[in-house]
């Protein structure tokens, strides 16, 4: 960062031999998060979703700009919002270099910039038949946490689920480590099924994935039962996990990498030339409801 907040624009310098990676994601209250979400969680979330986009490109985060629309200036809200934002920014070495605060309905727009060694970024479109499909973490926990918060239910064992919804941890280090290993990658924000579909469409191939392999947390099964947990994992969304593919020849390298990670990594199945995404349970096609959890009204 050569020149930070305070002038007409920020000035930054990128080391030679790197590409700049830019992502932009906005969160609107009542659309992308509940209106009553704690300010600290909103601050965390607006950066987390953008860090997750960079992670899915195998990029290292550097700087972010923030545009915050607020109905009215509220010092206490802003203080908590900043606390959530800067805690995560500090954790991942991301500098806030500029932005704008405007009056308007609560909307948080972040543009984030990262770097990757020239040409080493990982796209959605590189999956090839025979590649294995992996996912990080425990998809489904976040949506269960969201439902718990809405129900205001003080369930036993619900705290980890609520935390996974309010404070998702983007897989930045994991994404970076996957440069040169993953053939394709996407972050899971709309649900495993929907986002796997996008990766397959971009890569122009299909996949067979095993429902029994889904890494369901015990908290999730405790909350939703096995069938409900599977639905949450497949269609819930807000996970901010990484879904990626690895060519057969690199799976041993992946295992060496992931041995050091703090989050689980699970092999779900294989990429095939036959188009379409097929979920399979004990060799039978698996069908599930899409409960379209995507509403925060």
């Amino acid at each position: 960062v050569v020149l930070g907040i305070g002038d007409d624009a920020a000035v930054t310098r990128l080391a030679a031999g790197h590409d700049l990676v830019t992502a932009a994601d906005a969160l609107v209250a009542g659309v992308h998060f509940p209106r009553n979400m704690p300010a600290r969680a909103v601050g965390h979330r607006c950066l987390a979703v953008n860090l997750s986009d960079l992670a899915a490109m195998a990029a290292e985060p550097l700087w972010a700009t923030l545009i915050l629309a607020l109905p009215r200036a509220r010092g206490d809200w802003l203080g908590e919002f900043s606390r959530g934002l800067f805690a995560l920014a500090d954790a991942f070495g991301t500098a806030l270099v500029g932005g704008d605060t405007v009056r308007g309905p609560l909307t948080v727009s972040v543009t984030i910039h990262g770097r990757v060694r020239a040409g080493r970024f990982v796209t959605r479109s590189g999956a090839r038949p025979g590649d294995a499909v992996y996912v990080t973490g425990h998809p489904g926990d976040a949506v269960a946490g969201r439902l718990l918060l809405r129900e205001r239910r003080a369930s036993r064992g619900g705290a980890p689920l609520r935390r996974r919804f309010l404070y998702p941890l983007p897989r930045v280090r994991e994404g970076l480590a996957l440069a040169g290993v993953a053939s394709s990658m996407i972050d899971v924000s709309d649900g495993l099924h929907a986002d796997a579909g996008k990766l397959l469409a971009a890569s122009d191939c299909g996949a067979e994935l095993d429902v029994a392999a889904l890494p369901l947390s015990t908290s999730l099964i405790g909350y939703a039962g096995l069938a409900g947990a599977r639905e949450c994992a497949l269609t819930g969304g807000d996970d901010y996990e990484l879904l990626f593919t690895v060519p057969a020849g690199r799976e041993a390298r992946l295992r060496r990498l992931t041995g050091r990670w703090s989050c689980p990594v699970t092999r779900l199945g294989m990429i095939s030339a036959r188009p379409g995404l097929r979920w399979v349970l004990e060799e039978h096609p698996f069908s599930f409801r899409d409960r379209t959890f995507r509403h925060f009204g």
Copy 2:
């Protein structure tokens, strides 16, 4: 642009020896522009205000990301919005590399990236006593255009004023040319008086500026009279002109540059060591009302 819209993030590459310049500005309907503003003008404006920020740093625009919050998908509105946005983007060689469209109250957030040769950016803080103060274009026209639109008055000669409000042309080429010439620079978005005050505060000095020198357009004087035109120029805002300072030794270079420009450049006065901004008319202090035009309800 190495990888454009469609993946988790965009990838771009910057030529060696350059700094990256980033600006972020959001426009909220009813706050930063009238709710009934034509969609094409909204598309133009969201990029123009950001291009103006880059211009004020003497940076060359490269890429932008857009986050658009819309109450509901409306193809006709989006078509006109895109038309306004891309016409300006094309005019200044700016690529739209990514973004997000979300449901929400009409808000347009643009983050723009440009480049400048390493260290050659121009800040607000470089003005020194003895520097001359200049402004481009005809400040005040834009606010008069806005008032005309609100009054729905079909005044004679009002078309240029309305156009200056709806389709401001950021001074990108002029800003670029001022690298190495201007000692400080800011874009005029909140009004000449307010923005000159910001530049002086950042530079820790003062100025005496001549009200008689204000480059008032004949359209503006026709609309508001001489006294009203001066108020519009000093406090109106939405001009997106450049206000800059030039050391005495570089004024001849400036004159050679501006001889080729299509917009007027006017010398308003001098920077002084004595703090404060003093407007002077025929050697007397000039006082004016700040009518605070900043309301779009």
